[in-house]
């Protein structure tokens, strides 16, 4: 009987589905991919400051936002001469038709209010011009001297609201600043904002430093340094400037990198002709060996969830990439292409592993999925090496060295950044030659 009731109800339900009407549907496959056109008019000003001075600050903020968004390659700020509307205040409603007329897809409206001579309140609104919708609005109060960082944060917010991913403008880059002749190269640790501003040297250059890496909390940098001709892994505290050697290992240690939670350090140690991967708990200083092979296992990098590690090894005869669990088990080779693979780095968003590839006498920067599929080379050169991810996993930064000149003098080394799609490669301007960059986490997430 229950079956009958069920059957009757089912039949009745199916009968009702007859009311459902077929809707005309159209498939759109593929799209164009161009920078998004954005209107960024001057921010209006008010408050306890001469109008000209306030306008100057507002202009500088707009310039930084424009520079950030443009450098990402995803946005194109429209020429301000074409704007048909200017805003007198943050409450002014946009004339969407006017912005549509110049093909602006998004509009950033802002206002700077001088609460006092040293304190400013910045208000910003982001509009979808075609949908005539406000996408984002925010107000922040900052010290007047902090206008640059505030501008980066606004650019990050715009980036995040449009792309759906965290921005990377409020970040810093640590790198190796190189000076001097080829045979007596001085390599110092240096740090700067991601746009090249606020540059400073962290070490004096007496000892050679290599492979700097940020800790997730941005307070420390780990790197390898030759002290008395012995390579060791060090920790550098950014705020205090203090540096300390990590552990007392019998052999040389190198290629350090923090775990995603910042509590562990993973590195390689070479001893008795073997190089294996070790993990050190920074809280307890307990060391654990993760690989045991007669080959060279190096360049370890954690997955963002900390459960897996990618590294390169020549255990198969040539340098290839391998993935293993964080405890050293389930080692699996993931690269099978021609040539050699090195310096793997797991993307912060987990979807790619970036690497350096050497094949046919050329160097490449590439990405592949963590299971080894979908290898894609996105930069190529005489020498391109050491990729590092932006904190949102969208941009890859690396260094490029020009070929030597006729006299055999090595070419200059420069830092470049490229979008993961392979487009929008741009050079990061540094005061001296630069190599081995490392990208910090987002400062505002600290």
């Amino acid at each position: 009987m229950i079956k009958k009731i069920f059957l009757v109800t089912l039949l009745f339900s199916l009968f009702l589905t007859g009311f459902a009407k077929a809707e005309l549907s159209i498939d759109i496959t593929g799209a164009r991919s161009e920078p998004m056109a954005v209107g960024l008019p001057e921010f209006s000003v008010s408050g306890q400051m001469a109008k000209e001075d306030a306008q100057e600050t507002a202009q500088k903020i707009v310039q930084v936002i424009e520079s950030d968004l443009t450098s990402s390659g995803l946005f194109k700020i429209l020429d301000s001469l074409a704007y048909l509307q200017s805003f007198k205040g943050i409450e002014d409603a946009p004339a969407f038709v006017d912005w549509q007329a110049i093909s602006a897809e998004a509009l950033i409206q802002g206002h700077v209010d001088y609460l006092s001579k040293k304190q400013i309140r910045i208000s910003v609104r982001l509009w979808d011009v075609y949908a005539a919708q406000e996408l984002y609005s925010a107000t922040m109060e900052v010290d007047e001297k902090g206008w640059r960082r505030a501008a980066h944060m606004i650019a990050d917010a715009v980036y995040k609201r449009i792309t759906g991913e965290d921005g990377y403008f409020d970040t810093r880059i640590v790198y190796i600043a190189e000076t001097g002749p080829a045979l007596n190269r001085i390599k110092r640790l240096a740090i700067m904002d991601q746009d090249g501003e606020n540059h400073q040297f962290l070490t004096d250059g007496l000892n050679l430093v290599l492979t700097p890496r940020f800790s997730p909390n941005m307070q420390q940098i780990t790197y390898m340094s030759y002290y008395k001709d012995t390579p060791r892994v060090y920790l550098f505290d950014i705020e205090s400037g203090r540096q300390q050697v990590v552990g007392d290992f019998p052999g040389m240690t190198f290629a350090p990198r923090f775990s995603p939670d910042g509590h562990k350090l993973i590195m390689s140690m070479a001893d008795n002709g073997k190089t294996d991967i070790f993990e050190m708990n920074l809280d307890t200083r307990v060391i654990r060996q993760l690989t045991r092979s007669s080959a060279i296992d190096t360049s370890p990098s954690y997955s963002p969830d900390g459960k897996q590690i990618v590294f390169n090894s020549d255990r198969s005869g040539a340098q290839q990439l391998y993935v293993m669990d964080a405890n050293g088990k389930n080692v699996k080779r993931i690269s099978f292409g021609n040539g050699r693979y090195a310096t793997p780095v797991w993307s912060p968003r987990g979807d790619y592993i970036a690497f350096t590839k050497m094949a046919g006498g050329r160097f490449y920067i590439g990405v592949m999925f963590p299971d080894g599929r979908g290898e894609r080379l996105i930069a190529e050169g005489y020498l391109v090496e050491a990729p590092t991810w932006s904190p949102n996993g969208r941009i890859l930064m690396y260094f490029r060295q020009d070929p030597p000149n006729r006299d055999g003098i090595p070419g200059a080394t420069k830092i470049y950044a490229v979008d993961i799609t392979g487009y929008n490669e741009r050079r990061l301007i540094t005061p001296v030659d630069a190599s081995d960059p490392a990208w910090s986490p987002l400062l505002s997430n600290r």
Binding site: K4, I5, F12, A31, Y130, A131, K160, D351
Partner: protein, 334 residues
């Protein structure tokens, strides 16, 4: 309880229903669950947006056999295309005049016609109704009439009639010549009528007027594959996608577009709101797809949606909502 008993008493004459209802009462939780399921299925499947609208007759591809086309007096053309009363009358009178002129020539009555072109002395003599028709014809046809006259290839009937009339005074006795003149008159009359009709009537009207099932008729033909492709291609050109968004390879964005009768976009809603609210990458791609709809809409006459009022104006109910499925990577990024 009493109500329940009397209800059962009535049902006892129908054993199946009686047992079904009895079992239903015995298994209330299951029945309640089934009813809830049924309600859920109903909610999921019923299209509330069109509940108050008349059901559109859905007819598959309709092939018009030209040999079977019936020219009807009543037309199912959309209001915009229905000729005004005066215009209709004009067309009718054009046909009548062509026929009547030919008939007049056939009957060879030169003595009843005046000497001027198209003068319809014969009609004047026939009846008051025809006279009215001719007056209307003269009013409405005066301007176009001159055009065929000047054209070398088309001989206005008036001339032939005139000639016939002129000759008719002395040569009406020659039946062969009369016949030839009549045939000329018919030919030129028809030519005149055709030329005139073509000049006056919009080609679209000629094609669609009164043809049951023809374009613009009461049944909407299925949107052709090429038309669908055209809409898809135009939307693709409007869709500016950030190709590096996380997970973009596996995304499918569905947007329901609500169109006005003139093909402009009334609203565009992103479906799958749960994912939209939870997944910022999905939201980004979905918003770019919605923006594509609006950008295309702003292209005015080049909007992909303009094809609907243009070709399917009568079937507004079938295209007033569209489901657009945006698939970022099947077709590649251009």
């Amino acid at each position: 309880m009493g109500l329940r008993l009397s209800f059962f008493m009535r049902l006892r004459h129908c054993p199946f229903l009686f047992k079904t209802v009895q079992a239903a009462f015995d298994h209330m939780p299951i029945v309640f669950s089934l009813l809830l399921h049924f309600f859920a299925v109903f909610l999921l499947t019923y299209d509330f947006s069109s509940a108050h609208q008349p059901e559109v007759v859905s007819v598959p591809m309709f092939v018009v056999d030209l040999s079977q086309v019936k020219i009807a007096e009543m037309t199912n053309l959309p209001p915009k295309l229905i000729p005004t009363a005066a215009k209709k009358e004009t067309k009718k009178s054009v046909r009548t005049s062509a026929y009547s002129k030919a008939s007049a020539k056939n009957s060879v009555q030169p003595e009843t016609r005046g000497g001027k072109a198209g003068t319809s002395g014969g009609k004047k003599s026939s009846s008051a109704a025809l006279e009215n028709d001719l007056n209307k014809l003269l009013k409405s046809v005066t301007a176009p009439q001159k055009q065929p006259e000047s054209a070398a290839s088309v001989q206005p009937p008036a001339n032939s009639i005139k000639n016939t009339g002129n000759q008719g005074g002395g040569e009406t006795d020659d039946p062969f010549k009369t016949l030839l003149a009549s045939v000329d008159g018919i030919k030129s009359g028809m030519g005149y009528a055709d030329a005139h009709t073509a000049a006056e009537v919009n080609p679209d009207e000629i094609v669609t007027e009164g043809i049951e099932g023809g374009q613009g008729g009461s049944y909407m033909q299925e949107l052709s594959v090429s038309e669908k492709d055209m809409i898809g291609i135009k939307l693709r050109e409007c869709w500016n996608l950030d190709a590096g968004v996380r997970g973009v390879h596996n995304m499918l964005i569905e947007i329901r577009v609500f169109l006005n009768k003139d093909g402009t976009v009334k609203d565009a809603k992103i479906l799958n709101k749960t994912k939209y609210n939870k997944d910022t990458a999905y939201r980004s791609v979905a918003e770019s797809a919605r923006r594509a709809v609006y950008i295309c809409d702003k292209k005015k006459e080049d909007s992909p949606f303009k094809i609907f009022p243009k070709n399917y104006e009568q079937s507004y109910d079938t295209w007033k909502t569209l489901l657009l499925r945006f698939n970022p990577f099947d077709g590649g990024v251009i």
